[in-house]
Symmetry: none
Subunit: 188 residues, 4 copies
DNA sequence: TATGAATGAGGCTTCATTCAT
DNA sequence: CATGAATGAAGCCTCATTCAT
């Protein structure tokens, strides 16, 4: 294995080891110091692998997305109806699985960074992420514009669920998907 | 005028004087020091009127909403069609007016706080805000669930417009509203 | 009543109204602001009657001592034996009465000021206070040096009771007094 | 030398370097800033070694006690009579040596903290300190209760010497010790 | 006489970042 | 490579004191 690969693997490991910390404490309340302790490495070492805190969340998002992709493709085979397929696609927001709940929290932290400290890199990554999801949705419902709308709407529901007193995210998403599929059918 | 009223007016004035600063620099990058200088008062004076930084954004949101309400009710009279009325309701996201653009930015800052440092007070305020908008929408389209969906979706579009490389917020919202109104009509 | 008397009365009233606050929160943790609120007057008014925080505790001590003197002279009549008389003299440290407990706390605060911010005025007051007690003791046991020793020792016990994990102040004082009286008798 | 030892040594050195500052200016009037400058280190570095200001006085007391113990054991060998031994034990309050005078001042500061900001840690430390002294006294005079009384009384004298206009601490302590030893003899 | 709004100095503490080992 | 001690800038907040009303 070459040096670059080695470095990349370590980078990923460091990021992953901080996953729960980010999910629990939130991006803003975590210091480089805490991250180093959690990762079991020296503070200086963090800077060997990352530019800054955002960079770690960034790597974390990438890791989680990779894992997520694998899972999604597996799940997709089981799903039969379009509805089921779409649910599987948005499993991040629907699952009660503890790991996914952590990933959901990480995504929230990622969105906070997108909103508050929008570096080109992170904006580009978010754009690609959205494109990927929309493309997957398009594969299911064969309509780009509708796919984009669905994606953005579900993010809107996610924001709502994080900034309101009570919000049944699952119900909102499922009701919405059902309606969208109905419209889609009718429009054909 | 009694003392409480005086204090309230000064509170509002301080908050408003920091409006542009918040819009330009963002909640996280602003210090009490900067706020005091911008407001032309002493650092200590800030604490005579506000509990903390969040409290200032909070007051600012309230001020802007009050101004916004007045404006909306004026605009509403001019609007004839349902479509126009809804556009006027979401003028915050559609207008090119410089003041409104600043208000839009403040709302973004508010959402960032909602997502990252969710105090009960702020979550409650956001909940009430959404309820108000949904209620206004309901007055127009006579459908609570659809109103809620429209609101959350538009917030989703707003988030998208703030976290993606290119995003035509106006187009997305208008297309969406048109579709929704069409569905609504058909469903009757 | 002349102006000076009026001022003195108000001074005493303000000080007394802050008695419980000082006893509960301690000299160091109380701000002029809190004192003004507790006394039900304006912050500026404090400065009309007192030079600073120490000055208030000073006035408070004076008030309490005046009350204390009256009480002591009453109590003294009831006491028969020398032992009883001395106990009555040090009632501040022996009584379980709620008011006296508060006075004891005030005296502690006073000692803290004596130790940490010794102004001439406060040192002089403390010196006079000790002289008075020693004189009263001397009236009882007819021995100046022993009286001084007893006084200082009991202050030592009081300090101990405030800076150690467990300390039975009452027992220490009473045992000590008994021993001293025994020595005294024997020495005659 | 392991890292913990290194850190401990530095901790002690920082504390000791602030010794004179504490003795001269007093705990309450010293800021972390001043301490950092005096110790010749950065403000942030203070927090690498201490939790807070109190923690520094705490370490200082420990250092001084350690030094003091060594000295006492040496002095004890020279002392012949019980009286001399006890004087050596309370050398802190009797010596005219400049270093000891500083230590006496530090102990005063320590007592002020005990009285005014009594954390469990500091109260426990003071309790242990007293226990140690009483135990040493007991070794000399073979009487626990009397030892405790002597200790508390001498603290009382010390307080008196710090809060009264004129007070001959040495005379008070020596007279007292002589009397106590006399009583003790007689009681046998 | 009484007030309390206004203030800015100064307190404590955190933290990203550097750099010598 | 890896480290973590050292730092000082910068943040938040408190408060005694002043002064115009």
């Amino acid at each position: 294995m070459d040096n670059l690969s080695k470095k990349n693997i370590k980078r990923k490991n460091i990021a992953k080891s901080c996953c729960t910390l980010f999910a629990n404490d939130g991006f803003l309340d975590i210091s480089i110091s805490k991250l180093a302790i959690t990762a079991g490495i020296g503070k200086g070492t963090i800077y060997e692998y990352f530019e800054n805190k955002e960079d770690i969340v960034f790597e974390l998002m990438t890791c989680l997305q990779e894992d997520y992709d694998d899972k999604f493709h597996l799940n997709l085979k089981i799903a039969v109806t379009k509805e089921e397929k779409i649910y599987k696609l948005f499993d991040l927001f629907l699952s009660k699985d503890e790991n996914i709940l952590i990933q959901k929290e990480i995504y929230k932290q990622f969105l906070i960074i997108c909103m508050s400290k929008p570096s080109d890199k992170i904006i580009k990554y978010n754009t690609n992420l959205r494109d990927k999801y929309i493309s997957l949705l398009e594969n299911i419902i064969n309509n780009y514009k509708q796919s984009a709308k669905i994606y953005d709407t579900i993010i809107g529901f996610f924001i709502a669920s994080n900034s309101l007193e009570k919000y049944d995210l699952e119900l909102c998403i499922k009701t919405f998907i059902k309606t969208e599929l109905k419209i889609y059918k009718e429009n054909i």
